[in-house]
Amino acid sequence: MSDRLLLATRKGLFTAARDGTRWRIAGVSFLGDNVPMVLSDQRDGFLYAVLEHGHFGVKVHRSRDAGATWEEITAPVYPKMPEGVEERDPWGKLVHWRLEHVWALEPGLDDESGVLWCGTIPGGLFRSTNRGGSWELVRSLWDHPARKQWFGGGADLPGIHSVCVHPHNGKHLTLGVSCGGVWITTDGGETWNCRADGMRAAYMPPERQYDPNIQDPHRVVQCRAAPDHLWAQHHNGVFRSTDGAASWHEIKGVPPSSFGFAVAVHPEDPDTAWFVPGTSDERRIPVEGRVVVARTRDGGRSFEALRHGLPQEHAYDLTYRHGLDIDETGQRLAFGSTTGSCWVSNDQGDTWQALGEHLPPIYCVRFA
C-alpha cells in the first residue's frame, strides 16, 4: 500500500506520510499559494505541481527529488487567436483562448516516457512529450465544431477535468468534460467522438436532457484491469458504462444522495466503486451534516454508507472531483474536503482515520 499522500490545497502542496500506524504531514511546498493540481509520475518519480496565481496566471512546477526542490517549467499556452475571430459559448459568453485553469494532469503509459496529458479550462487538451518541457494543444479536439457547444459547469467556461488513458493503448483516451459529456479518441487524438449516450441532464429542458454533448459528468474514472468499465459521478446522478462508454446507465439508490463530485474505482475490480455524496446541487453540504462515503461492491446494485471514523455531527465538508483517491492495491483510500479535512482508510473505507482537520481547502488528493 502507498505510504505517501499528496494534498494540493488552496494554500500549498502538503505531503503526508505514514508514521507507524498514524499519518502525519511530513512537508509542504508553495506554502500560501493556490495549488489546484498535483501529479506524482510513477514512471520516473517526477512530481508536478500546478500553481494558480490570482494575478499572474497558471504556472507549472516540476520536482525531480520528491518535492525537496522545484523548477518552474512551461505552462500550456493557447495559440494566438486568428485575427478578427471572436468565440462565444452557447450562452453568449466570450471564450478567450487563454489558460484559465488546469483541471486534469495525467501521465501517458509506462512505455510513453515523458508523455503528459493536461485538461484545461476553457476546454483545451494539451499534450507534452518531454515531461512538461513544452505543450501542444490537441487541435483536432479544439477545432471540433461540437467543442464550441460546450458550456461551463462549476466554472464560467467549460473544461476537461478527467483524462483516462487506456491501460493497454496510449492512443485511446476517455475525457470527462463539464459540460460536454464524455469524449473518446482511439487514434491518439486524430479523431474524436462524444460518447455519453444514456446520460441524463436534469438541468436541461426535456427535449435536451439526453443530448450527449451537454452532459455534466463531474468526474470519470476507468478500471485499470477492466478498462471498458467506467464510472461517472454526474451533476445529477451516478452513471456507469461497461462497454467503453458506448452506453451509460444510471445507478439509482446511492445512499444518502447521488449528488457529488468525486468517484474512485477499484483498480482490479470494476464492480467496486466509492463516492463522497453531498446533499444536492442546490445544497452542497453533506446530508444532515454527516460525512459519509458510499461504496458499492456489486456494480451499483447495492451500496453501503461508510461512516466509521468520519464526523457525524455538524460537518460541512464537501469533496471536490479530484479530492478522492485510491492506491495501487485498491485497499487504501483517502479523501480531502473544502473545509480542510482529510481522512485515510486502510480497509477499503470500512474505517477512516483523520489525517488533518484544519488544513486549507483541499482540491486534489493523490497517493504517491
Binding site: H55, G57, E72, A75, Y78, K80, M81, H96
Partner: protein, 89 residues
C-alpha cells in the same frame, strides 16, 4: 529611457528588478524588458499577449487604456509601474 518597476508581489515568484529600457509604447517597453527576462512575460501577459486580467500598468501614475494591444504611448523619461489589481484576490 523609460524606467520600469514591477510590483513587489511579483518578486516573490520571479526576479524582476527595476530596469531602464527604450520604447515608445507599453508594448515595446515591455517587449524590451522581456527580451532580457523572458520568464517574466507570462506573469504579466496572457496567452494572447494582452495584459493579464488582474494586472495593471501605470505610466507616470496614469492607468493605461489599451490593455490588449498595449498601444499607450510612453515618453523617454516615463516611469512605468506594473502592478497587481486588488480584484485578483
Amino acid at each position: 529611457m523609460a524606467r520600469v518597476i514591477f510590483t513587489r508581489n511579483l518578486q516573490r515568484h520571479i526576479a524582476c528588478l527595476p530596469c531602464e529600457v527604450r520604447g515608445t509604447t507599453v508594448r515595446t517597453v515591455l517587449d524590451a524588458v522581456f527580451a532580457h527576462n523572458e520568464a517574466a512575460r507570462g506573469y504579466v501577459l496572457d496567452d494572447q499577449d494582452a495584459l493579464r486580467k488582474h494586472m495593471l500598468v501605470f505610466i507616470n501614475g496614469e492607468q493605461i487604456h489599451d490593455r490588449i494591444a498595449l498601444s499607450d504611448p510612453v515618453t523617454d523619461d516615463a516611469e512605468v509601474y506594473v502592478m497587481q489589481a486588488l480584484s485578483g484576490g
